[in-house]
Symmetry: C2
Subunit: 112 residues, 2 copies
């Protein structure tokens, strides 16, 4: 029942998980994921317009998401369309959302 130090294999597993979570840990990338979960797919130019930063920056963000296996890309003509590879992302957001409302309530309590 003691807190034992985990094996290298287990550690590598946590490392891999952290890598995926890290890919989601940026507002622009969350915005992208949310947009892709609402519409099926979006090209880089649409996402760039939505986010409002340089297209090269958005492309990099998409690269990060793709590297984590969260999105897939498909080139059609001169445009590249991205879509989500996974569906469970919304559960993910629900949890984050509940943390946020929980935090908000707590801060409220401190004021009263």
């Amino acid at each position: 029942m003691n807190a034992k130090t985990p094996s290298a294999k287990v550690l590598a597993r946590y490392e891999a998980r952290a890598q995926i979570i890290k890919a989601l840990a940026h507002p622009a990338r969350l915005l992208i994921v949310d947009e892709l979960s609402k519409h099926g797919e979006r090209c880089v130019c649409e996402l760039t317009e939505m986010i409002g930063s340089d297209m090269s920056t958005v492309s990099r963000h998409l690269g990060v998401l793709k590297g984590a296996g969260l999105v897939a890309d498909e080139k059609r003509g001169q445009m590249v369309f991205y879509r989500l590879r996974v569906q469970c992302i919304s559960n993910f957001f629900d949890c984050i959302e509940s943390v946020m409302t929980c935090n908000a309530r707590r801060h409220q309590d401190l004021i009263e």
Copy 2:
């Protein structure tokens, strides 16, 4: 149906979400969260032993989790005990896990 650039308020909301996710985006912190979800609470020294790095480092990680509102701390005697503030973390992990198996399968496909 166009990708419109979100308002400052919406943007701030994504920023806040990203902040919480960022707190989870580290193997040591995932390890901590997992440990706390299994046992109700752990003191810093136990977590330090489990993770195997400097106690100051572990304390910093706990500070990050606390800052995001994910854990609560309570001092009893000379020890400080941490516990999870939220329960939904496991759903969270389930999603990450499914991404990982999905990725693994995909890599497998590339080999065959």
